[in-house]
């Protein structure tokens, strides 16, 4: 077994557009779920809105890449309002049902051949990154060290992703330390009590849904920046991966979701390299290498369950909170 290669691969995933995209999605979900208590089960839908909003804006409307990104974020605002207006007045669980359904509807719309010209149906969208790469100010060459080596084309989306992530973290941090964030956390605990104090609970929940949704959509954009948009990515299991990340890092914290995303992807890469290698080495004789690669998804599910049961506050969460989780 080539341990060096396994560790190298795992370490390289710390800095990748995938990790950054998931970190953004988790950060947005942290605003929804961790701060406002909104059970958004449509993370995949918000990410798809970002990804396809971006790709369609370029391919169908010929927008420059930065304008396409802005359009995609505005699309997320609209998506959040469409979901929120009918459901935020209802009890929390309804939001979960509506968001999971909306994400599925959206995915099927992207998949149907009726809109193939715009959405690319099952093939998805690709070949739109020309304008983005043309805007790349980084001179040609190899950058980085150790496991983190990128050429200028790989580095550019990572730079944009990190800038977006940093801005989003700053935004969330600024909101959460403010009285606005205090109201949001109050709503999470008991919205009637907050209502009785004269706060417009619906407006706060809507603002939270929009801001979180926009951040999640930014994750979708980063995920597709330099590559392609494929409907097979935005499935419900993506939502559960992001929940795992948020719970791992600490839902009610600012940096928890980012840390969670890093740990999640390092583990994913580690397992996806380790398991087949173990099979090859004859350690797991009852599996094929292919099956072993899939085991990591089972482990994610088991990990999510263990997290919720034994450490619902997450790595960065306040231990004191644990005492009071009902």
């Amino acid at each position: 077994m080539d341990w060096g290669q396994i560790f190298n691969q795992s370490a390289s995933s710390i800095i990748s557009t995938t990790t950054i995209a998931y970190a953004l999605a988790a950060l947005g979900l942290g605003v929804h779920f961790g701060q406002a208590g909104l059970l958004n089960m449509g993370v995949a839908g918000f990410m798809a809105v970002g990804a396809y909003g971006y790709a369609i804006s370029i391919l169908t409307f010929g927008f420059p890449w930065w304008l396409a990104a802005i359009v995609a974020l505005l699309a997320a605002v609209v998506f959040a309002m469409i979901l929120g207006v009918p459901t935020l007045r209802l009890r929390g669980d309804y939001l979960a049902i509506v968001t999971i359904a909306a994400a599925e509807v959206l995915r099927l719309l992207l998949l149907t051949v009726a809109f193939e010209e715009v959405t690319g149906s099952a093939d998805g969208l690709y070949g739109y990154s020309g304008d983005f790469q043309a805007a790349n100010p980084i001179p040609d060459g190899e950058y980085g060290f150790g496991p983190w080596q990128f050429n200028q084309n790989e580095l550019w989306p990572i730079v944009i992703g990190i800038v977006l992530l940093a801005l989003a973290v700053l935004l969330v941090w600024a909101m959460m330390r403010s009285p606005w964030g205090r109201v949001l956390r109050g709503i999470r605990e008991d919205e009637d009590a907050v209502r009785a104090l004269g706060k417009n609970v619906f407006a706060y929940k809507m603002q939270a849904l929009i801001i979180g949704g926009v951040i999640i959509a930014a994750g979708g954009i980063v995920y597709t920046l330099g590559s392609n948009a494929s409907p097979g990515v935005y499935v419900t299991s993506l939502t559960f991966f992001v929940y795992t990340i948020v719970l791992l890092g600490g839902a009610a914290t600012v940096f928890g979701p980012v840390l969670g995303a890093v740990i999640f992807w390092v583990l994913q890469f580690f397992l996806s390299n380790l398991m087949p290698a173990l099979v090859d080495a004859g350690v797991l004789p009852f599996m094929t290498a292919n099956q072993a690669g899939m085991v990591r998804f089972i482990l994610v599910g088991v990990g999510l369950m263990l997290l919720v049961i034994f450490m619902p506050q997450g790595i960065l969460g306040n231990k004191k909170e644990m005492t009071f989780v009902k």
């Binding site: 009637d192 907050v194 005492t323």
Partner: protein
């Protein structure tokens, strides 16, 4: 403020405070007119299935006074609170606060107009600290608007003022040692106190308290009642639900009695509490007799208590027989 002298800390004044009188016009009948009503409700009805939880033809709550709403369990007091504050919608009816209609006004707008309520089942915000709970009560915070929240310079000074006020109130409510603890770590009585203190953070015109002293120890109850009297002197109106008749007698200027959704009696505390209908429906005939005497565990002082114990026994026997016959 006129009451500054009396709100200074120090030994509580032993002089009983004047009750506010002359609140009503004409006879003190159910639904009677008030000289200066702050709340006027007309034909407010709410039924759950077949139960008429609230069925109020007309009631007025006097301004600048402390009004107690009493009545047996299930009389509809909490439901009436919910209706008045926009937390529930009546089947029909009109009601106004400060001469402006409140029908159909959402709960948070009711609160913004200065009508703040607490809940019978306490709603402490568990995973917020005691101080955060308190700060949430303050109104018109610049930092609670989304865009200004991003710029601390815009709200920091106001937040400091709010924090100071919160700390002062917490001392009053004996919660100052708990400032930085999660509200979830408070005891049941402490949560009641926190909720009431939080409501007062908004400087309401009218505060509606649903059983505020349930589970609060006697010494603290007294000091808080004193605080409520201070607030009244500063012009606040109080409407509260309470089953503790000592409290009602001690601080209420006016008492409204509800039973089966209707207002059945109104008046000043001593008159209402000697009203046979009220005694019959709510207080019971033996409210002045020691419970130990009633249950026969303590020897009463003489024939008087003995007689009343006999009466109670007979009454309960009668009742049992009646129940039996019904079956």
């Amino acid at each position: 403020m006129s009451s500054d002298a009396s709100s200074q800390s120090g030994p509580p004044t032993l002089v009983p405070r004047e009750k506010t009188t002359g609140l009503h016009v004409g006879e003190a009948t159910p639904g009677c007119k008030k000289v200066d009503p702050i709340i006027v409700a007309d034909n407010v009805r709410r039924s759950f299935g077949g139960v008429h939880a609230v069925d109020v033809d007309h009631v007025e709550i006097p301004r600048g006074a402390i009004t107690a709403l009493i009545g047996p369990n299930g009389a509809g007091k909490t439901t009436f609170f919910n209706l008045l504050t926009g937390f529930d919608t009546p089947d029909e009816g009109k009601w106004s606060f400060n001469d402006r209609s409140l029908a159909g006004v959402p709960a948070f707008k009711v609160a913004r107009r200065g009508l703040v309520r607490t809940f019978q089942l306490t709603k402490a915000l568990g995973l917020l600290t005691v101080l955060e709970n308190m700060k949430l009560g303050a109104t018109e915070q610049r930092g609670e608007r989304f865009f200004t929240s991003l710029f601390p310079a815009a709200w920091r000074s106001q937040d400091k003022e709010i924090e100071e006020r919160a700390r002062e109130l917490l001392v009053r409510f004996k919660l100052d040692a708990k400032v930085d603890d999660y509200a979830a770590s408070l005891s049941g009585g402490q949560r009641k106190l926190l909720e009431m203190a939080r409501a007062l953070m908004s400087n309401p015109t009218l505060v509606m308290l649903d059983e505020p002293m349930a589970g609060v120890n006697p010494a603290l109850t007294q000091s808080l009642l004193d605080h409520i009297l201070d607030l009244k002197e500063q012009g606040m109106t109080v409407l509260f639900v309470e089953h503790d008749m000592h409290m009602v007698r001690h601080i209420a200027d006016w008492v409204v009695v509800m039973a089966e959704g209707k207002i059945v009696a109104e008046g000043d505390p001593s008159t209402v509490m000697s009203d046979p209908a009220v005694i019959d429906a709510y207080l019971g005939a033996h409210q002045d007799v020691d419970l130990g005497v009633v249950t026969g565990r303590v020897a009463g002082d003489g024939a008087d208590a003995d007689a009343s114990r006999h009466m109670i026994e007979e009454e309960s026997n009668d009742e049992l027989e009646r129940e039996e016959k019904k079956r």
